[in-house]
Symmetry: C2
Subunit: 137 residues, 2 copies
DNA sequence: CCCTAACTTAGACAAGGTCTAAATTTAAAG
DNA sequence: CTTTAAATTTAGACCTTGTCTAAGTTAGGG
């Protein structure tokens, strides 16, 4: 798969300095940053970047399906660049660390038709919570 | 199982008028109200009840394990009085309706040890999303 | 090189929630 | 029945997260 910036170029996404630094900050595969964290990192390279632009850019990337919004705790949303591989999240209830995990079965198959109330189900989000080895000791 | 107010009485929970109306508003089994909705309903019976008290009471009920906090959409948290029966949620992406559902398997069993990163997992939260029959037509 | 639509900006605004200090209420002791 | 200390409630200030707007700036086709 070509990298994120290449994919965006192919889609008539006007590439500005601001959009570039935001997507660069989201480079890794196992990163789960809040909008404010992304803004702070982006501002290290482009000091005048505004909060509004970071929010706008993130919304566009979500709409394009290039990143996912994760609602882990009712606090700030986090943005997950690992959008092209189905996965779920495992979160430490103490330190907040987030891991990507991959359940064995298709999570949808556990929900029998009688429990679907006629819905056309399109998405399943699973969050596992527990104590990480570091916090347990 | 004795009802909510009885259980709380047995636990030295000082029962005030404010706490009573909040717990009464949470009476049903299949209700998923926001704090503001709970405040509005409570205020119909006890007009001077404050927002802070509603938030305090809800936090205490969560800590006591009598209700559950549900984070459905990154907007306001919802409070679910159906805390003593394991269940998950099915949400309409259009109208926001929330249904309680009961998957067949233990959701934890789908996560193999190799995907647990040494965590001691204590909770799994699953949210199914789709279009309800009403919105589909 | 110019033009215009697209983009970015600062800052006001809004929703949801937390905190604080003062007032009130509870219930236990005298 | 009073006193009293601790628990509870209150109004409103404040905080965090996110959205909106109007004005300024920029990308890139012609």
């Amino acid at each position: 798969m070509p990298d994120l910036l290449d994919r965006l170029r192919e889609r008539d996404w006007r590439l500005t300095a601001q959009r570039r630094v935001v997507t660069e900050v989201l480079g890794g595969e196992h990163v789960h940053l809040t909008a404010d964290e992304i803004h702070a990192l982006a501002a290290r390279r482009l000091p005048e970047i505004s909060r509004a632009t970071v929010y706008n850019t993130l919304s566009e990337l979500v709409a394009l399906g290039e990143i996912r919004e994760v609602n882990t705790d009712g606090r700030a949303k986090r943005y997950d660049p690992n959008a092209h591989q189905a996965h779920q999240h495992l979160i430490c209830i103490q330190c907040g660390t987030i891991k990507d995990v991959h359940p064995e079965d298709n999570p949808l198959s556990a929900l029998p038709p009688s429990e679907r109330f006629g819905f056309d189900i399109s998405d399943v989000e699973i969050t596992y919570r527990g104590l990480c080895p570091n916090c347990a000791s």
